[in-house]
Symmetry: C2
Subunit: 116 residues, 2 copies
């Protein structure tokens, strides 16, 4: 377990979660929301319900420790932190997909291996 020895400052939030506790599902959901502009559309495109998407975005904001989406009348909009996360999430998810392609032997990138 991670116990900080730093003595004096003892506050933080209720939960001791940082971004490393994020899940790939949360990243995918967040990307979909950012791309589609509304949770509803994202939910439809992922085969989830609105509420599932809402909980996932809430979760990723919790581990990020910041608001990533600005709620507006006609959907959501990325905040500054949201854009940061979005860029990183794209890298992560693309890498996962690239791995999947590479493993299945499909044309993905340089360095594809042939599993015998």
């Amino acid at each position: 377990m991670h116990e900080s020895n730093e003595s004096s400052a003892r506050l933080v939030c209720v939960n001791v979660m940082d971004f490393t506790d994020v899940s790939l599902t949360a990243l995918r959901v967040f990307r979909a929301v950012a791309e589609q502009g509304t949770s509803t559309a994202a939910a439809a495109s992922l085969g989830y319900t609105q509420s599932a998407v809402s909980r996932q975005t809430a979760a990723i904001e919790r581990v990020a420790g910041a608001e990533l989406l600005e709620r507006r009348r006609d959907g959501v909009r990325l905040t500054a932190a949201g854009r940061v996360v979005m860029r990183r999430a794209a890298v992560v998810l693309d890498e996962i997909d690239a791995t999947a392609r590479e493993l299945s032997g499909l044309p993905g990138e340089a360095g594809t291996v042939r599993l015998g």
Copy 2:
């Protein structure tokens, strides 16, 4: 867990899972095992038990659809596919960590707390 009746055919994968179903925990565990050489050492370094590590590596091999670790007397060794996954996993996990660092250095619009 979903075993076939062992009639005659040697079916490879009963579950329809590809690498996109991998979890970050599995990637972390796999990296630790690859770096440390044994599941036991990896377990200790992660605060898990041996069995948890074993299940995670089994899981990642299942979604990868290939053996990633060659079991040997004194631990494990990466296969060709294992090295592929290892390289990709490093990218993914580093990106996650980088995001965490970047976010903790951001002037978040809510909930930023200065310790000390």
